[in-house]
Symmetry: C2
Subunit: 297 residues, 2 copies
DNA sequence: GTTCCGCATGAATCGATAG
DNA sequence: ACTATCGATTCATGCGGAA
């Protein structure tokens, strides 16, 4: 099989194995939300927190191989509480992936509008998740204008009556590359967003339960790819990432190990139930060698 | 010197040295925003990112010694960008502090409400900071009711006209007959917040450069201490934490190495310029021994 | 049609209880 | 002692039926 065979398809199988059919440097954006430790136990068997990093690293190695040098990998994840403490597997994973050669470019925050209710003696509701940006190289593609947002009320308010202290504050920071000059922003109706994304979770849909809203992958797909590029989601789940890519005119490749998710995502993306799910062939051509170099077998 | 001598004072000196005058288990909350790596270089001499963890760890050891078993340490920090990547010193610090015996209980996010738009070729404006919660023991003090926030429209709406369906839903769930849960809601106009704190960057103070708004330490002081408790800020800076403690009827101890900050914070907290700053004596009585046990020299 | 309102429910976590 | 299951907590959203 080649990349062409997988393009705009949803493949059932373990992503490490499936990705062995994809050549090096063929993906522009990987956006995925892997099963969190001890979650989704029915579909994925439940990875133990202590084993999470070792479970994930071989997959990350393949992701790195198939990603284009200018591509980006966005990982949606949040550590769970174990024995009253936040477990450190996400921190460990970031450090280990850097050893693997990834650059930890940025950490975006998904500030959820609505999350599960509840309060406990020692903590409040967890209302945010990490969207960790990894890159292979410093010069990755980024199309910032595509995600500009209307100027908020606060900005209008603030810019309309620029106080002296504001001006002074800004000038003092201008040298450091911050904001340059406030006057640059006057008269604009759109501004660049920040690294905090405030969106609702998607709940209560009848036939599927998407973990994140369509807006979330759309935001990152617009930001890091252009029309005709290829988006990979190796833990496609209900297919939200793939649907976002399709809507935006990008190619997509979806992978999931769970047959029910394959059927669900096929239904969502293609509007029909899949009769013959695509399954990866036994032996892929492309692997990650032990010295970290990519290449064919 | 004893704790009594330092209570409600601002002391000039290196916090490791100053804290040697404080006995074990004498502080209820440590809230601080240390100089970030390579930031505030004039005041603190600029700690290099790679050296940050080693610079911080001896201080953390003293913090752990003086903190009460039921106390909490809130660390306001954000990793800076070095060479196009987020530096890992905050992650490393969390891991090393766990080795020191701290529990990493939670990570709150401060989502900044009003910051200027800004962008760089490869990233957007950084609009959030970490507020990392460390504890010595699992059973720490927390006064959740003190930070409750106004309820959303949902409950108002709902309570105003307790529908039959509400009653049914409640009965079926509780089995304890109508009223138990519903009556809990009646008259309740406040709910618990989440671990995302959405606050403005500044509260309009003009003549000083407070790093964070007064609301931020106030929120944590209310949450983790009661009236009469003692709050420590070992990097007091312009004294925002101390002012918040004073406003809330808590004792405070402020430490800063920089004489200009000492004068500024004295002015803010006590409303007057300090003429004879308090300086720590040469040798403190209390230290952290090599085996990690606390005790007097 | 259009608006209004009830309703189910989600990457959660703790403590108690049961095996 | 260690693990598994269960109840309690109480917000925003979108759907579907009602007005």
């Amino acid at each position: 099989m080649t990349k062409k065979d997988y393009l705009d398809k949803i493949i059932q199988g373990d992503c490490v194995k499936v990705l062995q059919d994809l050549p090096d440097n063929s993906i522009d954006l990987i956006f995925t939300s892997p099963p969190y430790a001890d979650q989704r136990t029915k579909s994925y068997g439940g990875i133990k927190p202590d084993e999470y990093v070792n479970w994930f690293l071989p997959k990350a190695a393949q992701f790195k191989r198939v990603l284009r040098p200018t591509g980006t990998f966005i990982l949606n994840i949040k550590e769970r509480v174990v024995d009253g403490e936040r477990h450190t597997y996400v921190l460990d994973l970031i450090l280990k992936m850097r050893e693997q050669g990834w650059l930890w470019t940025e950490e975006y925050i998904w500030h959820k509008k609505n999350s599960y209710p509840g309060k406990w003696p020692n903590r409040f509701r967890d209302n945010w998740e990490r969207l960790i940006q990894f890159n292979k190289e410093k010069n990755f593609s980024m199309y910032q204008e595509t995600v500009m947002i209307p100027v908020g009320d606060w900005a209008k308010d603030r810019l309309s009556k620029l106080s002296d202290t504001d001006k002074i504050r800004d000038e003092s920071k201008a040298g450091s590359g911050f904001g340059k000059n406030v006057s640059n922003w006057i008269g604009r109706d759109k501004v660049y967003p920040t690294n905090v994304i405030h969106m609702a979770t998607e709940t209560g849909n009848k036939n599927h339960s998407a973990v994140f809203p369509l807006d979330l992958p759309e935001w990152f797909i617009k930001l890091f790819t252009k029309s005709g590029d290829t988006v990979l989601d190796p833990f496609a789940g209900s297919g939200t990432t793939l649907l976002a890519a399709l809507n935006l005119g990008r190619h997509f490749i979806g992978i999931d190990i769970n047959i029910e998710y394959i059927q669900l995502s096929n239904q969502r993306v293609f509007g029909k139930q899949l009769k013959l799910p695509i399954i990866a062939e036994k032996k892929g051509k492309y692997t990650v060698s032990k010295n970290g170099k990519n290449g064919k077998k």
